[in-house]
């Protein structure tokens, strides 16, 4: 516990700050300011801690979080600052999975609730919903003991004609043994999205089993003879891989395939792109042009668009040509997950429901071994493995919700909350890099699943404009991918910078209203029933008058609960709206004045995170 710590406003040009007390707990860092406002930061959320050079007012400490919160403390005594710094470094860098928050988090659920929570999302059920197994596709037991591919789930769906030797042979020809398997099956078109990793083709190698495998996928689609093979990498990268004995499919060796590169960059490019984006958006006193050119230079929106374009290409192949598509990148767990899941989301309205989205993430990301632990840096590890691949996927989904405001059951808050928990390590779902690892960690026994907790507060995540009949089931969402449709996701990257957001939220207002509407409808039913009852009574009054008078009490007693329920509804309309605009205290305009009122001498100004004395 350290007192008299200052929390600086990140975007203030005049070093506005609030003073309060900083506490470190086993799991959180807590700051309580003088007006008792609390800021909780989970240790696992801390991406970086930086101690800046000493200033006259104290020792500055900057904490960057994985959910894009950046806090800037000034600790009066350097020793304290140093202690906090060291503790945070230790606390935020976990060496073993067992030390993660999920293993100590106790939400007061009993064992059966915990088990039920884990059973909430059942992928076998999901494949059944898609329509497999069927005449063409079957469940394979080849990977039951993770013998063929450690990073795949135990249960895999493959074409019926793909025999075990073909599977085994194909897996040996694929990077990390990730052979082609079913990701999504489109019932109406009888076409499939399959996924795998790159072939170990080098410059000339070929593998008959792998060629058979692709042919089997092709033949499992009775309506179209050919299939697409989408390499989601830029052609240059794929070619470079050939030198290392990897590469891409040679069209001459595979019959009836149409090969296509779609050019999504690799995890390293994405990491540095986001880094650049955050540097720009974190600049104080940013001009419009610096922002736009920074946005351009970061390439972030270009990458988001590339992912979306790839998904659109995939979806067209299936919806227009009824052709099956095999998607891969290098290892088939980053770009492949993005494109497969986004494609399925465009094809199938189920994934646009709250539960469906959970299923989608469980299927294409968790079960197929997207390396959440490495990408989100759950354990202290190789910083080169960190990459915002999943964040990018969420951003694509957000862009779709902007274009199709009625097509999604969930709202932006849902996406943000999932993003929060992918990094929080509070629930077991995202721990580790693959299913096998999660089984070894016994996450289902020792930790809790996120999904039941999200469902319990489902109301917060519902899109009030959602129209389930927006498009008939299994009909296509066709996003417009012209560049101007992609916007900077302020609510993600400036989630905690309140001064940047609109002060009144239409979404919240409509959410509350539609919630209120449900309540009002019930009240109307209740009132009508009472009136009916009373009318019935008053008809009967003449006959049963003396019976009535024997029980006058219940009538009087019955009404209050009804009124009680409705009372808050009338002022409810005011409560719905919170207007924050009038308060300049949390606004930057107070600084406009200080810009022209002469600066006080000997003030220490912190610019770009480096302390500089200005006297």
């Amino acid at each position: 516990q350290v007192e008299q710590v200052k929390l600086l406003d990140r975007f203030s040009t005049s070093n506005k700050s609030v003073t309060g007390t900083l506490y470190l707990t086993a799991t959180h860092l807590l700051f309580i300011d003088s007006s008792q406002r609390e800021t909780w930061i989970l240790h696992h959320h801390i991406a970086a801690v930086e101690k800046l050079p000493l200033t006259t007012s104290g020792c500055p400490l900057v904490i960057q979080c994985k959910n894009f919160r950046i806090v800037h403390f000034v600790v009066p005594r350097e020793r304290d600052c140093h202690d906090i710094y060291n503790s945070l470094l230790q606390l935020s860098r976990t060496a073993k999975y067992e030390e993660l928050y999920a293993f100590s988090y106790n939400p007061k659920q009993n064992e059966s609730e915990q088990v039920k929570g884990w059973q909430l999302i059942d992928l076998a059920e999901e494949y059944k919903r898609m329509g497999v197994p069927n005449a063409y596709w079957q469940l394979s037991d080849a990977n039951r003991d993770y013998k063929i591919c450690e990073t795949y789930p135990r249960e895999l769906y493959v074409p019926r004609t793909a025999s075990k030797p073909i599977i085994v042979g194909s897996s040996k020809f694929r990077s990390k043994g990730r052979f082609p398997v079913l990701s999504y099956y489109h019932k109406n078109k009888e076409a499939a999205i399959c996924r795998c990793s790159q072939p170990l083709s080098g410059f000339s190698a070929r593998c008959l089993e792998d060629e058979h495998m692709l042919q089997a996928i092709s033949k499992a689609n009775p309506s179209t003879r050919y299939m697409y093979v989408m390499d989601t990498r830029p052609k240059l990268n794929a070619m470079a891989n050939r030198a290392a004995g990897k590469g891409y499919e040679n069209e001459d060796n595979y019959s009836n395939i149409r090969f296509q590169f779609v050019g999504i960059e690799n995890i390293h490019v994405m990491r540095s792109s986001l880094q650049k984006l955050l540097e720009v958006s974190g600049t104080r006193g940013l001009s419009v042009n610096d922002f736009l050119s920074g946005l351009e230079n970061s390439g972030w929106l270009r990458h988001v668009k590339a992912v979306m374009d790839a998904a659109v290409f995939l979806v067209k192949a299936i919806a227009v040509e009824s052709a099956s598509v095999l998607v891969h990148c290098s290892d088939g767990w980053d770009r492949t997950s993005q494109v497969c899941s986004l494609g399925a989301l465009l094809l199938d309205s189920y994934y646009r429901t709250i539960r469906g989205f959970m299923v989608l993430i469980e299927k294409d990301w968790i079960s197929f071994g997207h390396k959440f632990s490495d990408r989100c840096c759950q354990l202290d590890g190789d910083p080169k493995e960190i990459s915002p691949v999943f964040t990018q996927f969420l951003e694509c989904v957000w862009n779709l919700t902007e274009q199709f405001p009625q097509a999604f059951e969930y709202n932006e808050a849902f996406l943000l909350q999932i993003h929060e928990h992918v990094h929080s390590c509070q629930f077991g779902n995202f721990l580790g890099n693959c299913q096998k690892e999660r089984e070894e960690l016994k996450v289902k026994e020792k930790t809790y699943s996120l999904w039941p907790f999200l469902l319990a507060e489902q109301k917060k995540y519902e899109n009030p404009l959602y129209n389930p009949d927006f498009l008939p089931e299994l009909s296509l969402l066709e996003p417009n991918t012209v560049s101007f449709n992609f916007k900077f996701w302020r609510n993600m990257y400036h989630q905690f910078d309140r001064s940047m957001h609109p002060r009144q939220s239409v979404l919240n207002l409509i959410m509350n209203l539609s919630e209120q509407n449900k309540q009002l409808e019930e009240d109307i039913k209740e009132l009508e029933a009472k009136i009916r009852q009373r009318n019935g009574q008053s008809d009967g009054v003449l006959v049963k008058e003396h019976q009535q008078s024997a029980h006058p009490a219940p009538v009087a007693l019955k009404t209050p609960p009804c009124f009680k329920k409705e009372q808050p509804l009338i002022p409810g309309n005011d409560a719905v709206r919170t207007i924050e605009g009038s308060n300049t205290a949390d606004n930057r305009y107070s600084e406009l004045v200080s810009e022209f009122s002469k600066a006080e001498p000997a003030v220490v100004s912190l610019e770009y995170g480096v302390a500089r004395m200005t006297c």
């Binding site: 419009v288 922002f291 270009r302 404009l465 509407n517 109307i524 009373r534 605009g581 107070s590």
Partner: protein
Amino acid sequence: MEFAELIKTPRADNVVLHRPFHAAVEGTLCLTGHHLIFSSRSRDNAEELWLLHSNIDSSEKRFVGSLGTIVIKCKDLRIIQLDIPGMEECLNIASSIEVLSTLDSVTLMYPFFYRPMFELVEDGWRSFLPDKEFELLSSVTDEWRLSCINRDFSVCPSYPPVVIVPKCINDEELRKVALFRHGSRFPVLSYYHRKNGMIMMRSSQPLTGTNGRRCKEDEKLINATLRPGKRGYIIDTRSLNVAQQARAKGGGFEQEVHYPQWRRIHKGIERFNILQESLIKLVEACNDQSHNMDRWLSKLEASNWLTHVKEILTTACLAAQCIDREGASVLVHGTEGTDSTLQVTSLAQIILDPRCRTIRGFESLVVREWLQAGHPFQQRCAQSAYSNSKQKWEAPVFLLFLDCVWQILRQFPCSFEFNEQFLIMLFEHAYASQFGTFLGNNENERAKLKLPQKTMSLWSWVNRTEELSRFQNPIYEANSLVIWPAVAPQSLQLWAGVFLRWNRPSKYLDEAQEEMVRIINHNKELQAKVKVLRRHLAELEADERMREN
């Protein structure tokens, strides 16, 4: 002149109309003196397109064999294409359009010919008279008076006949001040902040010149607005550099020595062709669907449009801040005081005054701070983004103001009585309209053209219940507070409703909007129903109790 002489081919059949995101339609094209009318005869959806010639910003023709094609680019940024069979017909139509869309005589404009099809409830020309405004003001302060010094527009040609000035300044002194200000635009009251009695004035630049001329009456006038011991702020909408250069041409700015109680702040807001070019670049970028992400972002940046929006909003916030937070009086001016000055004073009022966020209040603001204040609409809005003429006086000053209002509206979606459509409607009518409201460059010209007698006012039409319902914001709830918008680049957005309006399908967004309105209306209905039922129940209970007693 007869319009018939200009129209050699008044009608052409089998014309095909192409619009983005619509299937091509075949139909008949008719030309009248003021309209281009296209009507399709297809069985299932007969539709008509009426386009004012004055809405046409530019047109191009080209031929493939005998099939002619005319591409028409409108001031509201829409682009349509007409395929006309027959070379002669096409040439005739193209040349008629060319001439009819560039008539330079105001009195030939459509407002002088337009006969309303609706019943006139209220004459919009008389809806916002200065006397009424002054009545409101005099109920809270007696420090101001209405001066008729400009009754015959002889003192200042771009000012209205009556202006509000400090009581302690007589007309003789005003005349002297007028001589000291560019275009005779002496400081007048723009806004009175009821909360603390602070005021905002606007004027043009003082004519100090290189030798630092001064004018005692000017100093007296603006000092008269200061509270004892208080300082005021002069917001100069030009950068210090530009203001200094203006001295060489006889202009200048208030020197500290002569205005010791005033603090001057310079904020560079761009003007004239810089803005026009910015608009042209922005629209060019928005219209090209083939741009990859990098190109789009760099084009958006190069247009500088959002930079202008940020500059204007920031300056308006600064003015509002001086008044509301600092409790100081403010004088705003640039060079002429007819462009950036008005952007700042009107936006500051939207931030400060809840009345300006109502439909009536906003109309009144447009009338006071733009029309009566002498923003030269006819010059500024002569051409829009597809202009080839590149005249110095063309500039989207008013559109920028509307864009800024939209930015605030987006940040405070419940605090405005009007919706985005209302702003878009004003943008359209400022550039091409059947109403006379935006004709002329100032009240002087409007009086000479006898617009109130000869044309219909936009407000007469808008303020009818039938029209108003389209412009009302369903989630409006009066907010009496000052609303401070965020101006960080991350908080500003491209105004898609104007700039992407014709470039993307809006079906899903429109439907979502409808659904939102449905939820709101449903809520109102349910609330009402609950109230009725509850009353009914209470009555029944009362009856029962009486019976029991």
